[in-house]
Symmetry: C2
């Protein structure tokens, strides 16, 4: 009896891609699934994954009847899993439920801060440029990209200033917002019209007393001034993850100058 072809992983699990396992019809799918599950139980596999393409969505009710649950979906594919070991609790972590954004604190040599006014907001404020971190992107790089996109200003990374965590935010996810300090390498603003209503270099003292600034954003700027005076900062170090060998970035607090 034919079984589905999948990829084994380091946790002794298997992942089946629907697009490379096309079936004649839904009966064919059901029979092959039955045979595959028997085989995988015999082989003592642990997590079984099906990545079902939107064009083969009729597989899902049958997988559901067999005890599969939806884990997540992206790129028009739904990922379902089944935990096979009967004597061991399921070790598959839930999918990501955290949105991560980066905001940029960019101060120039004239003691001016780079601020933007977003379009399409019911409440209007002067904000730090920034946005969501893209998949695969490092946090500081995301801040630099957003500053360049929104304002045309080129920057270099200095330090991490602050982290804000909202445990309950959009899509039922948490929201993490990293404020990084960037050094401007250019001064001429080229505003992005699609998302940004207005953009300017604003005198820091004006910003600190401006009525259209949210308190915690104002506090980030005060904090940056204080940390500068105290000579402390959160520094980023790039290294390699010892097991996956992929890049890792570690942020730690340091004294950056002596008293």
């Amino acid at each position: 009896m034919a079984v589905f072809q999948g990829t084994l992983d380091q946790h002794n699990g298997i992942t089946v891609e629907s697009v490379s396992n096309a079936c004649n019809d839904i009966q064919d799918f059901a029979v092959k699934l039955e045979a595959s599950l028997l085989q995988w139980e015999k082989e003592r596999l642990r997590g079984v994954w099906f990545n079902v393409d939107i064009s083969q969505i009729e597989w899902i009710p049958i997988l559901s009847q067999k005890g599969f649950n939806i884990h997540h979906a992206k790129d028009n594919k739904v990922s379902l899993y089944l935990w096979l070991p009967k004597l061991e609790s399921c070790k598959i972590p839930p999918y990501a439920h955290n949105m991560v954004g980066a905001g940029a604190l960019v101060i120039n040599d004239n003691n001016q801060i780079l601020v933007v006014h977003e379009r399409y907001r019911t409440v209007s404020f002067w904000k730090l440029p920034g946005g969501y971190v893209d998949p695969g992107e490092e946090i500081g790089e995301a801040a630099q990209r957003e500053v360049l996109e929104e304002t045309g200003i080129k920057t270099e990374f200095l330090s991490l200033l602050s982290v804000r965590h909202l445990p309950s935010a959009v899509f039922g996810c948490s929201d993490l917002y990293f404020v990084v300090r960037l050094k401007p390498l250019s001064y001429e603003i080229t505003k992005q019209d699609d998302e940004v209503e207005d953009c300017q270099w604003m005198d820091i003292n004006t910003f600190l007393s401006h009525p259209q600034v949210i308190d915690h954003v104002r506090n980030f700027v005060k904090q940056a001034i204080l940390n500068e005076k105290e000579g402390i900062a959160m520094i980023r170090n790039k290294s390699e993850h010892p097991l996956t060998k992929k890049p890792q970035y570690i942020f730690t607090v340091h004294r950056v100058k002596d008293d």
Copy 2:
């Protein structure tokens, strides 16, 4: 002509729950969808959302034909969206793609550090207790919960020590790992057998030279000792988000003692 009933949001979008909009059959669904989209375009709505329950999964191919894309899936529901404004780029952010974990650095009055050995790992190391942050949970609370679950030790939050960011990790997501310092409030270890192979209070110097410790974990401990000496730490402040009124936690660097 009947249209689907949904909930309007602050961005002028609408969300339709499949379970509260059951249709007689799939033809009925297709006709009602056609009428609803015409109506919503007339009303100048922006983002249209369908949360489709796994029991009504046959709606998805029809939604896909109408231009809907899968945004995310959880709790056995698939969320699809369609951006209606033709003259404005889609402003719907992609779903969360960041896993967030918390590790705990717990040092007792005898200069011993709380360490665990996990089960079911191909490579075996002494690690800090910790795990993924639950939905709706604050990072420090997650670390305290994991320490209690894995070791039975009660703790209180002291400070955030470090953040590690892996842009490319499991499920094609990024991984953020927050190391927090916790003060132990109890000393008797009660090991959780399901996930933890072994657990102990280990002398810090033993830990710092132990061959079964990953370098960056060792460095977190060195960093904690250094920051303690320097009198600097990342402090957590709880406040309220000015717009949503939900709790927000802001972590910033401070001098916690004078020289």
